[in-house]
Symmetry: D2
Subunit: 264 residues, 4 copies
């Protein structure tokens, strides 16, 4: 039902790509980088309906130029060790594009990225442990498009634990809630709207475990990508405008806060 | 039911106090400043249950020092012409206190303040017109404590129009929806939780009209102040901690993103 | 993205069809009945993507047999003068189908139908006046698929007034809020999930005014029909089942509340 | 902040009281019945702020006469084996009182009671297992008054498992999410508003385990009772009324659906 009808959805998979370079055990699990595993998972599920490319932290402007974002329907975000290295200017740019209608899928440790924190307005903190917990991902919203085509629950044999309290605004929708063998729970699949943009956060996925090779995890990410694509035809920021009485359609630009605007 | 049981709620009314200085017609309506009208309205309704003070933009550190905020249960915020003059450092400080549990009541044009934008993560834009519209404030959540003691609707003879679309996250609760004589509608009384803090936004109120002298508007603001006071006994930020398996109560501080933390 | 991919969505437009028979001024506006105007509006917007039929109160079993409902993806409901004549048995049947995944679009005075009340659990009362108010329908959720393709606001020159308080559960989503020339406001486009079913309530539409001939109203109803279609492949009721430890996928039927079930 | 200021909150603890009679192992855990354990837990936490009485299924009219309900601020409900024995007339009566403003706290297997199903409009089914699981009750809404004064998580050594999917409308608030040693999760503390009434559902509590003797469970129930008490001064049902243009405060009774009301 979205606005791309007739052409493939343009998906940009953003990856930090540091663990894969610095830690051999990660490189072994993800020889082409996590970003390529994520890309493959989306293509595996959506085929010709998507056109997926990747961008990395170490690319110029992190691969997230104005031109690139303008050509992106949905951006996926994976970062962890180097959140602080993402430039504030690029974060502002991505923020503007989300508010203007670009979809955003934030993955796993991306919960602590600058862009997610900026969109949420909270600390986005949680409790965690990386000790080979088993994660079970339970669907609590069976009507949601993101929950289609996966078992209830999804079983992930080895995972980092993310537990409540997850310091986020109340989600628009809670699609999945996870439990971990240690007993913790987590709102692991949640949606938000911000401006004209749709955001899906999905916590399963870690550098130390082969989670992005998991069939069901890949299906959820692909579902999330489709869901996050805007139904609106244009990319535009919300604006503050003055409307005269009886004219609902022609807003004026804002001209300052004081009444006697010309004089002041 | 909140944590201040036994002592008055400490309320800090923050005012920009510029229109009152620069515009004679505003000074006439609010000879003691809007901040004092707001203060009186809270005292009028809550009496000995509150201890209300004021702080102004032109005070040192805008009157919002660490010490002052630590002694504040609920902060109310009115700003308009000088949002840009509020220092980023103070905004960060207020943000931390809200996430740690300080209540926040944002009034009228405070929708476009730095602190509200930072907490919302959106542009907080809307449509507006200052032309003597009549505003009707309808209660849509009759069970909400903030809606108690006011007529349905509240009638405000003269008001600036604020209309949808209001670019905010989906509110936790919509208490009031307003209509204006020009035909516009607005979600005029809405709540949010962020971190450990509770936030109430209430749009009626303007420098050009005597809205802060309106009995029902004053009652709503007082109700909002009571509601925003935290039920938690302590002021503390959410934190990210590691918890070992089986130990649910003793978290460790975070020590970095890479696995071999000491070695790296 | 829904489960009907490859075949048209089967839409059943249900109409009470009494005003059209009893009141000449209604028959003049809707010579083929309101149900046919609604049907045409859906076809006008969705074309070959839908197959639309109608059923009427005076049909045997109100045209809502088990077989008919089983072949229906989305049911639209218009009733007013004869809510009480709808048999409880048929209401139970429609309720089961909604919980099992059939979409439901409830129109205008359908807010007081047995089926809507049963799904909501509340009185579904409101304030009203039929006096030629102008209604403005404002989009408050610009990302919602139901809000696509219509102006902001939709202008309806003549309409019955429906005003708050509307006694409904908090909606999952508020897509539209209306104002009326008399000053009232109404949550006029709202969604709910119940069981595996999706429900859209849309208030514009009345027997006394030509609202179902209004281009934008027709577009919203068509959008609502598409949205309400289930993404789940099967029609099935939620069930209560016992699951043994470690077996997440094979539930047993419930065998009674007392522990010694065989003995009792 | 509620309307009972100055007098104790009148709480009525309703119990089915069948397991205690029929099953010796239950009578051993709850020698005075579960209803009295629940009553004691509320009194233990709220002391003189409450006046608690009990009513049982086998009382005349189940102890829920019009007079009794009119004198009740908050009703708590525990039923399991005999949901079907609760008369429809009494269910209607309780339903009316909830919509008119009586608070309702539904406990554990009360999820499948007639009154809860009627208020929810769904099947209220779930997955379950009674096998000595450990339950951990995690707070996900740290600002909520119901979550105050209990550890995060609450540990319940032995409990029946209740797991998702829980077929309920999207809750207004999710206060607690539980995990079970078997790996299941459950939205175990949730709130709803219906009409003028506030409803809290809390799942911990079972006839086979001493859960209602658990200090933290008792605290949550007491918190829930306080929260569910109405802030509105009067007990009144929402009604459908006609309001003339410009008169916002004097509604007329409804006089029938057809236009020419007198003539018809």
């Amino acid at each position: 039902m979205n606005s791309t009808a007739g052409r493939p959805l343009r998906v940009l998979v953003w990856g930090e790509n540091r663990h894969e370079q610095a830690e051999p055990h990660v490189a072994e699990i993800y020889p082409d980088g996590m970003h390529n595993a994520i890309k493959e998972g989306i293509e595996e599920n959506l085929g010709e309906r998507v056109s997926v490319t990747t961008a990395l932290l170490d690319d110029p402007e992190h691969g997230l130029t104005e031109e690139r974002l303008a050509q992106t329907d949905v951006l996926t975000w994976w970062g962890h060790a180097a959140h602080a290295e993402v430039s504030d200017e690029v974060v502002e740019r991505v923020h503007r594009h989300v508010l203007a209608g670009m979809g955003l899928v934030v993955l796993h440790s991306g919960h602590w990225s600058k862009i997610f924190q900026k969109l949420m307005g909270t600390t986005c903190t949680l409790r965690w442990r990386s000790e080979n917990d088993r994660e079970l991902v339970w669907t609590v919203d069976p009507t949601h498009p993101i929950a289609q085509g996966v078992p209830h629950p999804i079983e992930i044999p080895q995972q980092e634990m993310y537990g409540e309290q997850f310091d986020i605004p109340r989600p628009d929708e809670i699609v999945f809630i996870s439990s971990f063998s240690g007993g913790e729970v987590f709102r692991s699949g949640i949606t938000f709207r911000r401006g004209h943009g749709k955001i899906f956060y999905f916590s399963p996925g870690d550098q130390d475990f082969p989670v992005y090779h998991h069939k069901d995890v890949r299906r959820v990410i692909a579902n999330g990508v489709r869901w996050a694509a805007s139904d609106r035809p244009e990319r535009e920021m919300p604006v503050l405008l003055r409307y005269e009485t009886g004219d609902f359609f022609n807003g004026h630009g804002y001209e300052g806060a004081m009444r006697d605007r010309v004089g002041n």
